[in-house]
């Protein structure tokens, strides 16, 4: 029997929560099509309950992940790049279909996404030196400021850039030791759901990244209002939704990363969808989800007889 006659095996896409691959507890799915309207797959349509479960998983994972050494986190992020490199073809196909790109353009996007994991892998043990420091206070004290992860971060992935944009918002959050609940692009969720499979095989502890697909507004509202979520990245929200979510986030003073300004040709709905994800990311996505802790301790003195050197 030639390949042409072989019936393909479809993939059942599932959520990635707590290191496992559940269906939505609601049992719902929705149709995902390519840029020409052709059916690609049914994606799970997550419910509010799925979002809350994902927060529980992210909270549970926070202690271990934030307590891991920065060196170890760097190793794990690099491992993600290794795993992706090996499964490049799959992501090129999915990105090409999701974003309507040619195979070569999709390949360039996937390469850039893999390189981004490598870039952030290198940041894990450097951000503390860049954004912390010893403070020369006017008194006999040892005084040190160090950055720490803020906690559970809800991430609304970009709507258009289904993979490079997605990686660009997830990697900085977990590089610094936070855990993430990610709401994938509603229109193009498949690369995100497949990324879950990669993370599961990349030594990323279960719960560190949790990926939900579905209606962004439906999932974002309970996340923005959730008292056990510490921060929210609004990149994938349009202007009206972003404002609504920022208001909800004020209830427990979540850290908010607003969507970027609309670009010149005026995406009417604003947001970072028009961001150039190929540009150098800078550090603001790393520092947005860090707290600075300053520790003071008296130094004492050795007495007048003590030599300076």
């Amino acid at each position: 029997m030639s390949d042409n006659n072989r019936l393909g095996v479809f993939k059942t896409y599932k959520l990635y929560v707590g290191g496992k691959f559940p269906r939505s507890e609601s049992g719902r799915v929705y149709e995902v099509s390519d840029s020409k309207g052709q059916w690609l797959a049914n994606a799970p349509q997550s419910s509010r309950k799925d979002a809350r479960d994902a927060v529980v998983a992210a909270r549970k994972a926070f202690g271990g992940w934030s307590g891991a050494t920065a060196y170890n986190r760097g190793q794990v992020l690099y491992r993600v790049a290794e795993m992706l490199e090996g499964r490049k073809d799959q992501f090129v196909r999915e990105v090409a279909a999701s974003e309507g790109l040619s195979k070569s353009k999709a390949a360039a996007v996937v390469d850039a996404a893999i390189d981004r994991w490598v870039w952030y892998a290198g940041w894990t043990d450097k951000i503390g030196q860049i954004s912390g420091g010893a403070n020369p206070v006017a008194g006999p004290f040892f005084n040190l400021s160090t950055p720490e992860p803020t906690g559970v971060v809800a991430v609304l992935a970009p709507r258009k850039s289904s993979f490079l944009g997605l990686v660009s918002v997830i990697a900085p959050v977990i590089a610094t030791g936070n855990t993430a609940v990610v709401v994938a692009s509603a229109d193009a969720p498949l690369p995100a759901l497949s990324l879950g499979e990669v993370l599961a095989t990349s030594d990323v502890p279960g719960g560190v990244v949790n990926i939900l697909s579905g209606v962004t507004a439906e999932l974002a509202a309970p996340l923005a209002a959730h008292q056990d979520v510490n921060a929210i990245d609004l990149t994938g929200a349009d202007t009206a939704l972003a404002k609504e979510l920022e208001i909800a986030a004020a209830d427990n003073l979540k850290r908010v990363l607003r969507p970027g300004p609309a670009d010149a040709d005026g995406g009417a709905d604003g947001g970072a969808d028009f961001a150039d994800w190929t540009a150098s990311p800078g550090t603001h996505r790393l520092t947005a989800f860090l707290e600075t802790k300053t520790v003071w301790h008296p130094t004492g003195a050795l007495g007048a007889a003590g030599s300076s050197y």
Binding site: I130, S131, G133, N135, P136, V137, A138, G139, F141, N143, S145, T150, N230, T239, A242, K243, E244, E246, I247, A249, A250, D251, N252, L253, R255, R258, G260, P261, H284, E291, T292, K293, T294, V295, W296, H297, P298
Partner: protein, 479 residues
């Protein structure tokens, strides 16, 4: 308690400060009446004496001040950093020269002891201007990119507990980075900000760079919601902080919030008890406990609970409460009748919920607003006095058995501003400090501040940092 040697009164002279019967708003370099002519009185909390009558800003005045700041922004932000630095150095020097006057003024208007305004507030105020003056021409080296830009007009709202220090925390970094400022001091402590306006005049600061609007919460709200304000900086209650966070949603205003706290002061059984007791006293009774980072929850290891409590009560019995202008006074007046009522109500709640109250035996003056240093024992984590910020001289005492339990209890709060650790064991300090969810951790010390040291909270204690290199970020476009 009477002792063989009573202290003779040692009042600081009021003659060094000349308070005018009335003051206007400071807009575009001039003192001016409020548009609607409204005024309010500011009283001395220790005597209820009316000190002065002050213009009450309304929305029209806010608009006028923001316009003045916007106009001034163009030139001020274009000045070479080295020139802005010199203005800030001038201001710092004038503050030093006038620090006696300002200390007495602050004590009169706020009610805090002269010992604290003279030895803590004013030196820190001057130090903040010196520190940020030095940054003005070095911003390229601050780690926020090669050419960091100011944001524009900063709307700043500050509280009454450290009126001049909070002003310095807000204005010094704003000016150093090239922003212009509209600042609203609290309604109960408007005077030192107006004296600062005069210092700006003496320093020759260009008109409109600093504007001071005395007034109430409505003026603060008009300021932070003004569409032409680019940066909002607020220090105050968590409730108001949340309202501000809601009001800026959907705008591109940058916001920093320094809000409430319920700091845990953790005393391990190997701590030097006498030093720890001094630290506990500093932690909660400094500035009558009206400190957002106060160590208002004492977590003491069970095995030394009685020893610590006995020493603490003995120490509290020697604190001298009374005339804030007396150089020997430790505990001054509560800032306002309203604040006293709030403290009183929370303490009554504590008693009603079954916590055991002990107050230092001291005579309260017959006029003014006073509250004796107080502590609660038999407190559980569920008690209101262990959860809510009291913002007064009230300490809740809880116990723990293991370091893990201490950390869990310390972190069991909506707040995350400060914490203290007392132990001789260095590795334990580092292990515990590492696990505490708080922006500032004092180990074997408490309530220390310095302009080079970033300050700010986790969780509902707000976001952003003030002080140090970190404090520059709040006033720069670093997106």
């Amino acid at each position: 308690m009477a002792s063989a040697f009573e202290y003779a009164p040692a009042p600081e002279s009021r003659a060094v400060v000349d308070i005018a019967p009335s003051y206007g708003l400071f807009i575009d370099g001039e003192f001016t009446e409020a548009a609607d002519g409204k005024v309010f009185k500011t009283v001395s909390p220790s005597s209820e004496e009316v000190l002065s009558e002050v213009a009450r800003a309304g929305a029209a005045d806010v608009d006028r001040a923001v316009k003045a700041a916007r106009k001034a922004f163009e030139k001020w932000s274009a000045l070479p950093g080295s020139e802005r630095a010199k203005y800030l150095f001038r201001i710092a020097r004038i503050i030093q020269e006038r620090s006696r006057e300002l200390a007495v003024l602050e004590t009169l208007d706020n009610g805090k002891p002269i010992k604290e305004t003279r030895d803590a507030d004013l030196p820190l105020v001057a130090a903040h201007f010196f520190y940020y003056a030095g940054w003005a021409d070095k911003l390229d080296h601050a780690g926020y990119g090669a050419n960091p830009r100011p944001l524009g007009v900063a709307g700043q709202v500050i509280p009454w507990n450290f009126p001049l220090l909070m002003l310095a925390w807000k204005i010094a970094p704003a000016l150093a980075t090239g922003n212009t400022v509209v600042l609203k001091p609290a309604e109960t402590t408007p005077l030192s900000a107006l004296f600062f306006a005069d210092i700006c005049r003496q320093a020759g600061l260009p008109k409109g760079v600093v504007n001071i609007l005395t007034g109430y919460g409505d003026a603060g709200e008009a300021l932070v919601t003004h569409p032409d304000v680019n940066k909002v900086a607020f220090t105050g209650s968590t409730a108001v902080g949340k309202a501000i966070a809601r009001s800026v949603a959907g705008t591109d205003k940058k916001v920093t919030l320094e809000l409430g706290g319920k700091g845990a002061n953790i005393v391990f059984d190997d701590a030097p008890i006498d030093q720890a007791v001094e630290g506990i006293v500093t932690g909660i009774f400094f500035n009558q406990g009206q400190v957002c980072c106060a160590g208002s929850r004492l977590l003491v290891q069970e095995s030394v609970r009685d020893e610590v409590l006995d020493a603490l009560k003995r120490r509290l019995s020697t604190l001298r409460l009374g005339d804030p202008l007396d150089k020997n006074t430790d505990i001054g007046a509560i800032n306002s009748a309203e604040q006293l009522a709030r403290i009183t109500a929370l303490v009554e709640t504590g008693e009603a919920e079954g916590a055991e109250r002990w107050s230092a035996p001291c005579e309260l003056p017959s006029s003014g607003y006073w509250f004796a240093p107080t502590l609660f024992t038999n407190v559980t984590q569920a008690h209101t006095v262990a959860r809510d910020e009291i913002f007064g001289p009230v300490l809740s005492v809880l116990t723990f058995r293991t370091p893990d339990e201490a950390v869990a209890k310390a972190n069991n709060s909506q707040y995350g501003l400060s914490a203290g650790i007392w132990t001789e064991k260095g590795s334990r300090i580092l292990a515990v400090a590492n696990k505490l969810r708080a922006g500032v951790v004092w180990a074997n010390t408490f309530n220390k501040f310095d302009p080079t040291s970033p300050f700010g909270g986790y969780k509902e204690s707000g976001y952003g940092r003030e002080g140090g290199r970190h404090g520059l970020e709040a006033y720069l476009d670093v997106r």
